[in-house]
Symmetry: C2
Subunit: 248 residues, 2 copies
């Protein structure tokens, strides 16, 4: 049995998220179906983590064990033949037997796109959070700094997941303004459920003047969800990269 | 009667192009329907020019005459309420009675997006031309220069339109590489039917080594369509801007 690692891009617009579930179509489910057609096998696909409905990925990672002897060089093209147009495997490679996409992940990078203009954007409608009013970028840049480092992010988590610890480290946050868009990038050792979207919601509220900068410190200190901002919508979020030890 | 000029963005993926036709849904048709709902009037909408099926716009311009007294400040928002999510009016303003979006246009800017990677991109599938092999960018940059200026672009025109002259001036072509994408921008005083897409097809063939640089000179001199490259697909094309005299 070979252990194959794949890097996946998807447009999450028409999916109920990554993870297979009884109702609704999912990315993991579509990949499972495509692999069944390609290899004839009923495989378990381990993703690096879930993404919610309408969330996108440019660098989701997964692995699976296969008895098939399809060369890895042609694997991406072969599986893409069986995948719908809004999912594609970008790369495939054989990895050591013990590699697991979730357990071995050392960190992740997410991107989030804001679109700031009075009218909605037809071209970005499924790939951004539409804000109709101006934001104070300098204020958002100040707020961003408060999130960097190791903190208890309990206030920036939606309920619905069980985690041992709510302490996480954000290594880096990038903010870029391009025309009517703001692109935010978050790199960290791991993210709680909805953490990026709640941070973005908080940044938007600070940028609009609805909340004060102080709220970030208070939320990090108290762990109280009510001190953090709203949950930004899923369609602005992109899983950009998953980091693994250098040997992979 | 007021003469209203509107700037429109659309995702052309699900449309049979700009112009109203007996079969299929069109951008112009959807705007006409939305204006009917908003004003109760059956209006003629003059676009700056047609765009083909699956072609997008970030800056299409149109005008129409209305007896309604809806203030222009709230016009964009009001009409967007009646438009589908893949079409939006970005701005509306009252212009002089004699303004006509097509006759008054002094020039246009089109963008074209290439996506270069062995596997297709789910996120860019409707907004780029997917090329699976590497292109020689330096060669494309050289070829680009040959198009700039005033030329007879007869070889770079599809049949199906009647024009008096096939002479056009390209003022400027910009080429930007961003990750796996190449963004091309063409600014000129006017473009023949499919001209941008045939120029792009020619550039791709030169970049891939299929055709020599010399072919551009030959095509411009002979006006022979066979000396130009293939018609690049519609989904990579964006109508970015329409230019009018400074008074508008």
């Amino acid at each position: 049995m070979r252990n194959i690692m794949i890097k996946i891009e998807y447009d999450g617009t028409n999916y109920n998220g990554w993870q297979i579930q009884p109702n609704g179509i999912t990315i993991q489910g579509e990949i499972k179906k495509a692999l069944k057609k390609l290899t004839g096998e009923d495989l378990n696909i381990n993703g690096s983590g879930r993404t919610d409905a309408k969330v996108h990925a440019r660098g989701q990672v997964a692995n699976f064990y296969t008895a098939s002897n399809i060369p890895v060089g042609g694997f991406a093209r072969a599986i893409n033949h069986f995948l719908p147009q809004d999912i594609a495997v970008l790369e495939a490679k054989e990895v050591s037997k013990d590699f697991h996409a979730r357990y071995w992940a050392e960190g992740k990078m997410y991107g989030y796109q804001l679109y700031i203009y009075p009218q909605r954007s037809p071209l970005l409608r499924n790939h951004s959070y539409h804000i109709t009013y101006e934001l104070d970028i300098a204020k958002i840049e100040e707020a961003v700094k408060l999130f960097i480092g190791t903190h208890d992010f309990k206030a920036f988590m939606s309920s619905g997941s069980s985690v041992k610890s709510t302490i996480r480290t954000i290594k880096h946050i990038k903010l870029e303004r391009q025309g009517h868009c703001i692109w935010l990038e978050f790199e960290g050792n791991g993210f709680l459920y909805n953490m990026v979207r709640i941070i973005v919601g908080t940044l938007v509220e600070i940028g609009s003047g609805k909340r004060d900068l102080e709220i970030v410190k208070k939320a990090l200190e108290t762990g109280d969800r009510r001190n953090a901002g709203h949950l930004a919508p899923p369609q602005g979020l992109f899983l950009e990269k998953v980091f693994y030890p250098l040997t992979h």
